[in-house]
Homo-oligomer: 787 residues x 2
């Protein structure tokens, strides 16, 4: 990334006060590039005439002044860094010429300038400067502040200051992070760097959508649509890898990601998970090859979150052994379906099912929507959703069905079926239970969105932290400007969130492992809750992180070419789709309340609330104020301190919300109203639970890291993240009496300290995310401003 990584082939001149004043002249002489050979030769000879240098020094200088062997770009950059370092203490007014700068550098570096300090010495330097034919003040400014690029094509004009090497190996950190994903990343990353997956920004919507289709086709051709499929259907039976592929794809174009997810995850997943062998045999191969592009038609215009009450109707017609699918009114149109506006040929339609006059709740039926030429089939009315805020490459559409008939076999009948003679049968007697079983198809999607959110946040952080390390603005009086990442507010905006991306990385990895290892019903319920919680938490983290990164980059962050705007617009809907965050968090909270019921046997939910409420009093005694009020650094950095605080919060919240709910129900309030009055409390409980689980995963990951340097780094990130989260919620800890203000104030200082400590390692830490440079910036579709 930086010129300083090219090692110089000749030694940097020593910190010799006799030599120092010459360095700016040497640098400018070579870097200018506009002197002809004769002029250059003249300058070199004049420099060599300087008599008062020691033999060794002279030899080094001659090496730098050989016209036959000019220094390369890397060497010059190295020399410039050296000069910039030496010039750090030189006041502004001494920077108006190269000669004065040189003398001042010698003076400030400790040794007196000796010869150069005399009038004659300064004259010699000024003579050389004149020979160079540059405006001294300008050349000095350029030398001290810029990369010295000479064309308007330069986009940065800054060199990051040299930093001490990080105490860990970046490549090894990447390998630690990608322990389980090396193989899949090796398959996916190279695809991201080349067309059709590398898509220029700014394409008109129709072209963009076509290119996204090609990209998904490329992924299908590379076999990435079949990773999660069982081997019997030609897949690899590797669900974790299918999610990790999605996670990796999220470093690239997010329209490609979403269309990929719709086709293989949602459409393909619904056939796999809700269908039976007849569907698998007929469709799966065509889905994973993209021969059959499809939609997942769950959401309706008037039913987004409340999908159990979708209003699309399917009536079984026994006489013809068909289902008649119907949209009763416009509000019941299927809406927001990816792949619907242009490319989909079939849809998994979630619809109320009526058999022989009896309603059985929501079921999924495969409905062909377009013919082989791509025209909508009779009775299928398709509308484009039109321009969106982001994800312009995804063809979202609306579908209305006008009494469309499909064969009985199109019912995805794993959990319920209609026999040829028109009897409804299901192994799951309750409509509700059957519905929630079918919703299981969304779990993979939610885990995938959580993982993709983390990737998007990493991309934004890599862009913003590298920029903040290079961009300089203001500084101590009379001294060069400092990188903006040196500012506390900039560190606070970026570094705890960077730690957050590490934390969420390990949490999603843990969830992926848990998901694929699930065996019992109880585990399944827990995994589903955590999928909902991490999707909500992760998409919020992405939204806030990307916004912070956009602002941290100032005007530069507002250029489309720097991706932050697109990243934000594309990921914005992550907080909404696959379950609106606030709905998902309530699901998590209800799960937590219900779990107590399970643990206590067959009590009803409100019984569980009573039980919890009763326990709340005893609970308070569990606190250990002596322990929790310690403010020592060791105590505050101790992971056990963090774990205890996170656990305490979760425990308290569950008991207090139970108490509040119970009080309302006891007063005769209906449960809907009672829940609504405690909605913010339930959301807080869910967040606390998810955060505690994230911390556990992070700490476990630290424990499982064998390499000391890497483990130490991760440990420090875990500390910063945990302390930052405690700081953010310190009001709650103060209110609950768990902490006192001396402690919360100490935590704030620890977060500041953690930021300062990590500052020098911030760039290596985002480099370790392993996002290839060529996908960190977006190629532009238009450079012609008249376009």
């Amino acid at each position: 990334m930086t010129p300083s990584s090219t090692s110089p082939t000749r030694p940097v001149p020593p910190r010799d006060p006799q030599v120092l004043p010459l360095l700016p002249l040497v640098y400018v002489a070579w870097s200018d590039g506009i002197l002809d050979a004769e002029e250059m030769d003249k300058i070199c000879r004049r420099m060599k005439e300087i008599t008062h240098l020691s033999p060794e020094t002279r030899k080094i200088m001659e090496g730098w002044l050989d016209p036959e062997n000019p220094p390369g770009g890397g060497e010059l950059a190295h020399l410039r860094d050296h000069i910039q370092e030496l010039a750090e203490g030189v006041p502004w007014e001494e920077r108006r010429s190269l000669a004065r700068l040189g003398v001042a550098m010698a003076r400030s570096s400790g040794g007196g300038p000796e010869h150069w300090g005399t009038a004659r010495g300064l004259q010699t330097l000024q003579g050389l400067e004149q020979l160079l034919g540059v405006l001294g003040s300008e050349a000095a400014r350029e030398l001290l502040s810029s990369r010295g690029a000479s064309s308007l094509s330069d986009t940065e004009g800054r060199v990051p200051a040299q930093r001490p090497p990080p105490p860990f190996d970046v490549g090894r950190m990447t390998r630690r992070l990608e322990l389980e994903s090396e193989t899949i990343r090796a398959r996916v990353l190279p695809l991201l760097s080349a067309p059709p997956l590398k898509i220029p920004y700014g394409l008109p919507t129709p072209e963009y959508r076509e290119q996204v289709l090609q990209a998904v086709q490329r992924l299908a051709d590379a076999g990435l649509g079949r990773t999660g499929l069982p081997r019997e259907w030609g897949g690899e039976g590797d669900i974790p890898s299918s999610i990790l592929a999605f996670e990796t794809l999220a470093y690239g174009d997010l329209s490609v990601l979403v269309k990929f997810g719709v086709q293989f995850g949602l459409f393909g997943g619904s056939i796999l998970q809700l269908g039976t062998e007849r569907h698998h045999r007929e469709y799966l191969a065509k889905v994973v090859s993209l021969e059959l592009p499809g939609c997942y038609a769950m959401t309706e215009r008037n039913h987004g979150s409340n999908v159990r009450e979708v209003e699309t109707q399917a009536r079984y017609l026994a006489e013809s052994e068909e289902f008649e699918i119907h949209t009763p009114y416009p509000g019941a149109r299927k809406d927001w379906l990816g792949n619907a506006a242009l490319h989909g040929r079939m849809a998994t339609v979630f619809t109320q099912l009526e058999v022989d006059g009896e309603e059985h709740g929501v079921h999924a039926i495969l409905v062909p929507i377009r013919d082989d030429e791509g025209h909508p089939l009779p009775g299928i009315e398709i509308e484009d959703c039109g321009e969106k805020v982001g994800l312009h490459g995804v063809d979202n559409g609306r579908i209305a069905f006008h009494r469309v008939r499909v064969p009985r076999e199109n019912l995805l009948n794993r959990f319920a079926d209609v026999t040829a003679d028109g009897r409804y049968i299901s192994p799951i007697p309750s409509d509700g239970k059957r519905f929630f079983t079918m919703l299981g198809t969304l779990v993979t999607g939610r885990i995938s969105i959580a993982a993709a959110s983390v990737s998007a946040s990493k991309t934004a952080l890599a862009i913003a932290i590298r920029f903040s390390d290079a961009r300089r603005q203001f500084g101590p009086s009379g001294q060069p400007q400092v990188p903006i990442l040196d500012y506390l507010t900039q560190q606070r905006a970026l570094l705890p969130r960077m730690a957050g991306s590490y934390a969420l990385h390990f949490a999603t990895r843990q969830l992926i492992r848990d998901y694929s290892a699930t065996s019992s019903e109880e585990e399944r319920v827990r995994v589903e809750a955590m999928a909902a919680g991490l999707k909500a938490y992760g998409s919020r983290h992405a939204q806030e992180t990307i916004q912070a990164c956009r602002e941290a980059c100032g005007g530069r962050g507002y250029l489309a070419e720097n991706r932050l705007g697109t990243l934000r617009a594309d990921t914005d809907v992550f907080t909404t789709f696959e379950g609106a965050n606030v709905v998902l968090l309530q699901l998590v909270a209800r799960g937590l309340l219900t779990r107590f019921r399970d643990e206590m046997g067959d009590l009803r939910l409100w019984g569980a609330l009573r039980f919890l409420a009763d326990r709340a009093g005893a609970q308070a005694a569990r606190r250990n104020p002596v322990r929790s009020r310690r403010t020592g650094e060791d105590h505050l950095l101790d992971p056990e301190t963090h774990r205890a605080a996170f656990l305490f919060r979760e425990d308290q919240l569950i008991h207090s919300v139970a108490r509040r709910l119970k009080a309302r129900v006891d007063d005769g309030m209906d449960s809907f109203q009672a829940t609504n009055e405690c909605q913010d409390h339930l959301v807080a409980l869910a967040r606390a639970h998810v955060e505690r689980r994230i911390l556990e995963s992070f700490l476990q990951a630290v424990d499982e890291t064998t390499e000391t340097a890497i483990a130490k780094e991760l440990e420090e990130l875990a500390q910063l993240w945990a302390l930052w989260r405690l700081e953010e919620d310190r009001a709650w800890f103060l209110e609950s009496g768990y902490m006192e203000s001396t402690q919360t104030q100490a935590i704030r200082q620890m977060v500041n300290q953690g930021c300062r400590r990590l500052r020098d390692r911030a760039v290596p830490l985002v480099d370790a995310f392993g996002i290839p440079d060529d996908i960190l910036t977006a190629p532009a579709a238009f450079h012609d401003p008249s376009r």
Copy 2:
């Protein structure tokens, strides 16, 4: 907005259990619109045959069943609202036919169904339902959940439930808000509703930019570019109105707003404020007519916030009485200039000035950049900034100057001049002071951005709150879904921010008054600080509010046609331009610290810090814990409670930051480093100060409101806003010992309560912003999805 505002011409049938069961049938009969006259007649006759109605009731029903006089859309909507209200308690399973729904409605409304409860009664109703030829369950669903629109062109499908009328008059509230702006709004609002100012979204960038130019021309033609100009130059001498015009324009297309601001506010303003008569005479008329489009060339590639060290160079050439303007290296290019990429003909260039070898700091010089045909002049190199995140209609560009010469007279010489014989003269001896005087041109811009931010937040809130009142999702078991604004989390996301937009409205109005009334230097400094502070606070409010609104609207908020995405992308840079927020807040904080020095005479800044630090101990005693720990409702709603808390916080923060700074400086730390270590603390102080000032303006506005109903409403909004701000910063109040947890918890409950109280008035309260309906939604440039 809502059908219910059309008053019906015939009375709604009484809540008579004899009539109730008929209402769904009457509604569906008329609303369906597909029955022919004969069928309709048959149904009417059958209804009239029903024998057991009282004479009055019969008369009313006959009014509703007259085929010669069918009810209009408004009346039907009214009838539907009536039915929906009556049906609220009816369980889901009773809604499967119109007949069963009718009977259940009668039963749940208290009166026994009498005749209708019998098998024969139900049969009569079922017969009628059959005559209607509708599927009963479908018709009932439609009736209870939708607007009953019958085509796919319907975009909403929902009717807001009827609410009690607000206790205040919406029009009068608007007039209260717009007390000082009625005239200017009457000039601006009609322009916003028509081309060329009403611009469809989704235009390709080049077309968009051209249309924005036309829109600014239209504004110039309407005289809106000259409002703030002194009368002697053909203006109206009305600076407040020029800012209020900007505020009003911010309801429309924000690219138009920004280009308008660049041309008249920044370019025109710099000539007016930094130039002298020779510039005014030559240029002002051409600027306000848009004959001379121009740029404000301050920002450079490498100097965004730190503009005092811009690197553009101007050298005075005495021999030709010219300035030579030069860009020494690419990083010194002028950047981000609105109007530069395409339309600008001249630029006010901020450049270092060198006269006779001596540097005098930053000065502004007018430099022509394009000829009359629009081609860049020799030595002027212009580059388009390319696509941005938003504001696509503004032609931002970069300019490099290659030894460009302009006459001596082009120096804007109000604060400094170069005489014909090459002497530099200035009434302000210090470079620094002169620079900050010149920056005064930015103050109007900052106030304008603050005002525009408030307008943008109002637009977003109006969109999101109306939507949330109409959109229904979930509900008590077996009952209709409830509007999502009934949910606590939705209320919390939107209503305190709505109160915030009211608060900021009055604060910006106050600032505009203060700005135009400024006479002393001390007042000027205070106004400048408040302009910086409100710009930062207001743009942050806009960013957070728009994001909350986007998410509050779920998928619907992700459609481009609903404006929230564009609003966010366009206003996003408000946090960056005209001074990055974090830099401006530090300016505010430094101003507060410095002011103490002024108040104490001639002490130096660090002396002031010592003074403040010493006072800090005494300060703590000023607290009144007895008073501040009361949790009673009256106490917590009392504006004096809020004022005292806000003041206490500001006071404490200024003393504690002074103490911390002083400790560091005493330890020998340089002031840059010391400031950086306390940067988050300084930012917190600035926010606390701005928030306190906002509260004061709001409370003053309440006091000055004569109409009781309006004043009461504003008072409640001020309470909600103040409590919400206290809640958000409760950690600080707990840490400082000013509040105890019983109090902060009571505050949280009061915020919840305030939200619930305002819920029914939320729609009238955003209606009172007075944003015309036709500019609340964006016209689309493309309805053809193949485009």
